[in-house]
């Protein structure tokens, strides 16, 4: 008999054994536990139907769709500018980052290019929404594991970043600032200096969270080796972003396929972690926040002057054609496939959002884990319901 080395096969065998054990060996009965749609660990309305044997999960199935808002269909009856306001609300924590790929796709169809100053400011705001997004993750991971205090630090320091976003765009959560061909406005006076001070605060926060949360032994025992995703499985399920990098796959769209943003000229690093467990996903995101502050510092130093808007007609009719643009959003790869037939509105928009794929791995990942680890794994996969259901 050859030894089974494939991890998936092993897990399936273990799961079958678990299935068999229920009702036979101890005359026990399994229990179906509905986690969600209303549950504090699901960040909204994700539902996970878990079949349990005691505290162990035999099978788990995510049920999405409780928050489906039909954004793909809605964008077909809205002009590009109006549709941008919808895109804000897909992943509501990193909202500016959602506008960018959509606008870039439209720009590609129109064959316009934003001036360098607009590109740089876009990149700054893009990274700021990443920081605002991931700071919340860093705090929230603590809450999910039972440490209530870090999340208050997270909300406190996220506020500084949101203030800067608000100062530049007028909106804290839904900036709606990106336009085809550039940006709505230039940055306000003194914004650059304030931003650099805020970045300093964010770095302090990262040190603090490393100290307070990651330094706690209980945090390590709860996350190390929990929810391990090997690199090949991660790729097969189409994971992206920090979830993929935490599995050791060195892949970042900002570096590998940067479209329309100012990343190539900057000095920064893509962090990966070989373990692929919950701890690795936390660690990678923590490093990403630090890298983002470095990116923003560099962009603030080297911000080019010039216009913030390219020459585009007042009423935008996008020429017929198809375009696909994806960017490295806070949650992972987010892309828009825009089909235009030369109208005021897109003919069809397909949204590829990161969370949908990131959550699709849960049936594989949750087999055989304990109930508390479901929460750890879901927290470390980090999804936003709006990003799953659109």
């Amino acid at each position: 008999m050859t030894a089974v080395t494939d991890r998936r096969q092993l897990q399936q065998i273990a799961a079958r054994a678990a299935d068999a054990r229920v009702n036979v060996e101890l005359e026990t009965e399994g229990m179906t536990l509905n986690i969600g749609p209303q549950h504090p660990a699901t960040h909204g309305t994700l539902r996970i139907v878990a079949r349990l044997d005691g505290e162990q999960v035999i099978a788990a199935e995510p049920v999405a769709g409780y928050m489906h808002r039909g954004y793909e269909k809605l964008s077909e009856v809205r002009t590009y500018a109006q549709a941008t306001a919808l895109m804000n609300r897909i992943d509501w924590l990193g909202s500016f980052a959602n506008e960018v790929p959509f606008i870039l796709a439209a720009e590609r169809l129109m064959d316009v290019e934003a001036p360098p100053r607009a590109t740089h400011i876009r990149t700054i705001l893009f990274e700021m929404s990443r920081i605002a997004h991931l700071i919340l993750f860093l705090g929230d991971m603590g809450v999910q594991l039972g440490a209530v205090t870090p999340v208050f630090f997270a909300f406190r320091d996220r506020e500084f970043v949101l203030n800067q976003i608000e100062a530049a765009t007028g909106g804290r959560f839904h900036p709606y600032f990106d336009r085809i061909g550039g940006l709505k406005d230039d940055l306000p006076k003194g914004w650059i200096a304030d931003t650099k001070a805020v970045m300093e605060k964010v770095r302090t926060f990262c040190d603090e969270i490393e100290d307070v949360l990651m330094g706690a032994e209980i945090f390590e025992t709860r996350t190390r080796g929990i929810g391990v995703i090997p690199p090949d499985v991660a790729q097969q399920y189409g994971l992206s972003g920090a979830n993929l990098r935490a599995s050791g796959v060195d892949w970042d769209l900002r570096r590998d396929n940067c479209v329309g943003l100012a990343y190539p000229e900057l000095d920064w690093k893509v962090w990966t972690h070989p373990d692929g467990d919950s701890f690795a996903r936390f660690w990678v995101r923590l490093q990403e926040v630090r890298e983002s502050t470095k990116i923003i510092d560099q962009l603030c130093d080297g911000l080019p002057s010039g216009p913030i808007m390219a020459k585009v007609p007042r009423i935008i009719k996008v020429p017929a054609g198809e375009a696909w643009v994806s960017t490295e959003n806070p949650l992972g790869e987010m892309g828009y496939y825009v089909v235009s037939q030369g109208d005021l509105t897109p003919f069809r928009v397909k949204i590829r959002s990161a969370s949908f794929n990131n959550v699709s791995i849960t049936p594989w990942l949750l087999r055989g884990v304990y109930v508390p680890d479901i929460i750890t794994i879901l927290a470390s996969l980090y999804f936003i319901l709006g990003d799953i259901d659109r």
Partner: protein, 346 residues
């Protein structure tokens, strides 16, 4: 024996009523104070926020507002709930809490029942609450509640042992199960012939003290041992179906138990109500100083519990069982052996 009260010649039932009322007021005041001081303010400052500021000066009447809100709420239970047991469970938990206070001494005579086996009684009666919790979990007809209750059952039983074994060290050293005797043994004791601070057992029994406080943390199901009520996964465990006044009862029980265990810890390890005998305070003075003294110590220890609670993430169920069975219990047994040997040697 009955001291002050005997001077006024009261009937037994009058004495009992006065004692009960005094005890109730003392417990509820301490509990309310602890909730305001720690749950509202101390924790808020830890988390860089202000906490309640509107109700009363500096938010000090917030608890009354909360209690008022809870009392007004509709009494809800699930359709399949076993209504009788569902209603009885909070009462069982609360009763086991209040019975703890019966033997805690707060002065030379300020003890409701000076039992010869005081500490034994406290540990026995405090473990009754697990029955109330299991009742709540079963009667709620809710899977989360059931899981929470079973986890609580496993955890409370596992941490009873280190609690009892930790206390045994003190009992051996004091040579008595009576809490008054343990207090006197500390205030009259001396360390290598120096009697300036008596002999608070935290100095000799620091291992037992650490074990006791960890076990208390687990008995109170506070983080890092709050797996049974983990709000991010089991929502609130066995409390999930309780609302309104029944939840209030659980709330009072939780914090009153914290005060009770802290009072016991301060009695066992910090000298209780007594000041060192060498300081020369009379019994009459201690009638006044004693309750204040033990309250301050207890409130301080509750603060430690809450400090830990809001600092750490929680253990997983198997990890906390491992800590109890493989860590704390062997350590407590070793402590008993060492204490017994040293007791014989000195």
């Amino acid at each position: 024996m009955t001291g002050v009260l005997s001077a006024i010649e009261l009937a037994y039932w009058q004495q009992t009523t006065i004692r009960l009322l005094a005890g109730l007021v003392a417990v509820l005041l301490l509990t309310g104070g602890v909730v305001y001081l720690y749950l509202f303010k101390f924790v808020s400052f830890m988390q860089s926020r202000l906490g309640p500021m509107e109700a009363g000066p500096y938010g000090s009447l917030q608890l009354l507002a909360e209690v008022g809100k809870w009392i007004q709420k509709e009494d809800i239970s699930t359709k399949d709930a076993d209504k009788f047991i569902f209603g009885l469970a909070p009462a069982v938990v609360l009763v086991s809490t209040f019975l703890m206070f019966v033997v805690i001494p707060a002065g030379p005579n300020a003890v409701m029942a000076d039992l010869g086996t005081g500490i034994y009684y406290v540990l026995a009666i405090s473990s009754l609450s697990v029955i109330g919790i299991l009742m709540a979990g079963w009667a709620s007809a809710n899977k989360y509640a059931l899981m929470g209750a079973l986890r609580a059952g496993g955890q409370l039983i596992a941490y009873e042992l280190p609690l009892v074994l930790g206390v045994l060290g003190v009992v051996i050293q004091a040579g008595s199960l009576n809490l008054q005797d343990i207090v006197y043994a500390q205030s009259n004791g001396e360390i290598f012939g120096i009697s300036a601070i008596g002999n608070p057992y935290i100095l000799t029994q620091f291992v037992a003290f650490a074990i006791f406080m960890i076990a208390v943390q687990a008995e109170l199901t506070q983080t890092p041992f709050d797996m049974p009520i983990a709000e991010s996964e089991l929502v609130a465990g066995y409390q999930v179906e309780y609302s309104g006044i029944r939840f209030l009862v659980y709330f009072i029980a939780e914090f009153a138990t914290a005060v009770g265990f802290a009072a016991i810890a301060s009695t066992l390890f910090l000298g209780g109500w007594a000041l060192p005998a060498s300081w020369g305070f009379s019994d009459t003075a201690m009638h006044v100083i004693g309750p204040i003294n033990v309250s301050i110590k207890a409130v301080f220890l509750v603060g430690v519990v809450f400090w830990v609670r809001f600092t750490f993430p929680r253990f997983r169920e198997d990890q906390l069982q491992r800590l109890a069975w493989k860590g704390l219990i062997p350590l407590a047994l070793a402590n008993i052996v060492v204490t017994a040997i040293l007791k014989v040697v000195f």
